[in-house]
Symmetry: C2
Subunit: 357 residues, 2 copies
């Protein structure tokens, strides 16, 4: 077992070698902490900036055990890690907690958990076969969104169901797997709240971000979002309630739908640092990555207020080839992730543009 707070020079193990792991490693470095990463390939975005890079599969308990053995605490950059693999860390503390992973990995569990703690979501139904869709659609109203219960991200594994006679095709389209049918949320905009909880239960919540997606992939986040105080208060309630209910340690990203009357519904949460929190890298004194590392290491959290209004734009695929223009733009803070191949839709970097609050 590790004693918290971890001393400078301690090693944080990160499962995952992508851009989130990379930015976590950079944050750990500022605080004098060492990082070891478990990456699928040598020279990963995170491995390039870490003291140790282990190469292995994230679903291999032996690989995770090896990481844990050289770490004083373990965290992860993505949530689709099997529970059996998490158990492989043994005595090494892991954060965020396994429960948060388990709940977030299953969309029915996730929404049930949220509702059970007084956090509103769109109405939904569990779908185990195509035959379940018709009665659920009758209850939820059409159109409704069919998603796999597990995995799927950036719009993958989803299909809209407009009429009962589309049930079979929709179920087949998502791979005929256990699913959730969600009532269409009549939202006017998508918001997200990034929040942190320390090992002592202290919480810190960033201002809301307003998110715009294209083709199911995040395009921009504007933060702080311009919202009425009641909306900000409700987002704060949602974040702090969820963090406490999960016994959480680390940073969480909570995606919200804002309805026309101002009501907020929780769409989903991610038990990790979040793309919609990248604006904090330049818009805040302490960004989401540093606060995640602080929480994982048992350190006090840092301030989360905004220093500037920030527009974060993802650089997808070949858009990153535009780096010379962006590097020359004095208003653009450029972040590139060290990925070799700019496959279409792949998150290659992002740009933050600041303006006065």
């Amino acid at each position: 077992m590790s004693a918290f707070p971890l001393q400078p020079g301690s090693t944080i193990g990160i499962v995952g070698g992508g851009q989130l792991g990379r930015m976590l490693a950079l944050a750990a470095a500022r605080l004098g902490l060492r990082v070891a990463v478990l990456a699928r390939e040598e020279g990963s975005p995170a491995g390039q900036v870490s003291a140790v890079e282990l190469v292995g599969r994230y679903d291999d308990p032996a690989a995770v055990a090896k990481l844990a053995a050289i770490s004083q605490a373990v965290t992860f950059e993505f949530e689709n890690i099997p529970a059996a693999v998490l158990a492989a860390v043994g005595d090494t503390p892991i954060a965020p907690p396994a429960q948060a992973l388990a709940v977030s990995q299953d969309r029915v569990e996730e929404k049930s958990f949220l509702n059970a703690h007084g956090l509103p979501t769109t109405p939904f139904a569990a779908i185990d076969s195509a035959a379940d869709i018709a009665p659920a659609l009758a209850r939820l109203g059409a159109p409704a969104l069919l998603k796999t219960r597990r995995e799927g991200y950036d719009g993958k594994g989803q299909a809209w169901v407009n009429r009962t006679d589309e049930a079979e095709a929709a179920f087949a389209a998502i791979g005929a797997r256990p699913a959730i049918l969600e009532a269409k949320a009549p939202f006017v905009r998508e918001l997200s709240v990034i929040a942190a909880r320390g090992r002592d239960g202290e919480t810190a919540v960033y201002p809301l971000g307003e998110n715009h997606h294209e083709g199911g992939i995040l395009r921009t986040t504007l933060a702080p979002a311009v919202v009425e105080q009641a909306v900000a208060d409700e987002a704060l309630r949602i974040a702090t309630t969820l963090l406490a209910a999960l016994g959480y340690v680390g940073v969480i990203g909570v995606e919200l739908f804002q309805l026309a009357d101002g009501t907020l519904l929780v769409n989903e949460f991610a038990p990790r640092v979040h793309n919609t929190g990248h604006w904090t890298l330049d818009g805040c004194e302490v960004d989401q990555f540093e606060n995640h590392i602080r929480a994982v290491a048992g350190w006090p959290l840092g301030p989360t207020h905004a220093l500037a209004r920030t527009e974060m734009t993802n650089l997808l695929g070949a858009e990153a080839h535009d780096w010379p223009r962006l590097a020359a733009d004095p208003a653009a803070r450029l972040w590139l992730y060290g990925k070799r191949e700019a496959a279409p839709g792949r998150k290659m970097g992002h740009v933050n543009r600041l303006s006065p609050l």
Copy 2:
């Protein structure tokens, strides 16, 4: 030869594994550039956050050649690299240029170069033996400061000479080596200017810092220093003149003495990122490390204006043990360098405290 600008994914080689190399590596990572460092020991502060860490001596041409062979450009974190070693980089471009290193390595050359380009310094004399001191002291006035021509930093290798009969002892105290005798500059405060020059000759100059030393070691920098416009203008002239005269590429740190009438004298310059520029890490959109990397990589420079008034305080030796209190202080931005042993006076980290401009 490398083609500039270097593409993301290119490797920057850094000679030196300390905290300056570490912060350069973190800056390179933001821009999607890989880093290889040459460090004296494995697990160095810079090596912990770099893709490649070579272990070797900085004065070993073979070690530097090995670094250059895997790099598209080479830079360094400290200026005491022998010219013969620099030649070992072969065709790999090195920045800042060798001339800047050569000039800055010899205090007589340095002041002569500055004066030759219209940049004022305190009066000085070259000292080759103890016998040279008496006539020089008569010309310069007492007391005067005897320093070795080469090496020496943070107040080491220096001795004050108050009277002619102290000449022998002072010369012995600095190791009886070629030296410089400098007239005491009647300064009212110490300032520094951090500036960058790109491969295309573009320059960018940060606001002045006001520096306070203790025991010859930098204690704090306050930036932007509160100065009259004429002083700021003169600092800008000094920085841009020096950068152009040296055909410079990269960030330079220029230490200045301000006299009672506002006159600025150049004390010395360091052809590298500089401790008195650490405030830019939190006080500017683009810090000195990123601008150095941009220049070395042939990228356009980033903005250098201050976002906040910043007080930088070095954490020396055991002062770094105070990290729990500093981490809990919402007004303190803490940087720790990943060094294992907190030897007395050793720079272990620093803290930036921001306040509105």
